[in-house]
Amino acid sequence: MKEFDLNNIFTDVSITGNKNDALKKMAELFAHENGIDAKALVQGFEAREKESTTGFGNGVAIPHAKINGLQQPVVGIVTFTQPIEWESLDEEPVEIAIALIMPLDDPNKEHLTVLSKLARKLMDDEFIKDLQNGRHDAKKLYEVVTNAIEFKA
């Protein structure tokens, strides 16, 4: 098992509703795939969004949550058929959400290093363009992200 794999990429997910509906759907998908409690996950996502939006612009958001008892971080991607209003910094709706699900107390610096590299990469216009171009194709998204960040197998 590693932090990021194809099973955690869901493309063209149809959401009727708003950001909270999208977060709920994302929590269900990742909870099921990774054996996480869906309720704890959606609460974590919502709490973080209340602090400040994770929609950082260019149609991309990075909802994150810390989960008690999780063994290692999970990075997952959901793309939406219809853009979701996310109260983003640039006020544009979100088509791609990258979820960062962290163990509550994670002393493992390698995990954090991986996530910080991903965060830095999000400021790279080319990377965002590649994500946008790949948003209907899970394999393509997997390639774009793994080429940018080395995940541990």
């Binding site: 950082f56 612009g57 910094l89 954090l112 965060a119 999000l122």
Partner: protein, 104 residues
């Protein structure tokens, strides 16, 4: 000589915005031809730590933080722009321009 900027970034969770803000400051400082070094105070602790001589040599300081800066004494007496990480993630150019405006 190029103006020298030093910056500290720190967000609440210390996972994403600390590093996004750091990257965006570097991106726009370089675009405008300024020297910059950014210390991140995130979940991994302090990285790319600014030495006192680097701070002393800087023309201006940017704190892009949603929480307290660790060891703020190091920056005493420096001209400092304080903004939130989201502002810097949203508009890195504006943060750099505002900082430079403090010294021009």
């Amino acid at each position: 000589m190029a103006k020298k900027i030093v910056a500290v970034t720190a967000c609440i969770a210390g996972i994403a915005h600390t590093y996004m803000a750091a990257e965006n400051l570097k991106k726009f400082a370089k675009k405008e031809g300024y020297d910059i070094k950014v210390e991140t105070q995130g979940a991994m602790g302090v990285e790319n730590r600014l030495s006192q001589s680097e701070i002393d040599a800087a023309d201006v300081v940017i704190f892009a933080v949603d929480t307290n800066v660790q060891e703020p004494d190091r920056f005493e007496g420096k001209k400092t722009l304080k903004v939130g990480t989201s502002e810097v993630v949203k508009d890195g150019k504006s943060a750099i321009d505002q900082a430079i405006a403090l010294i021009n």
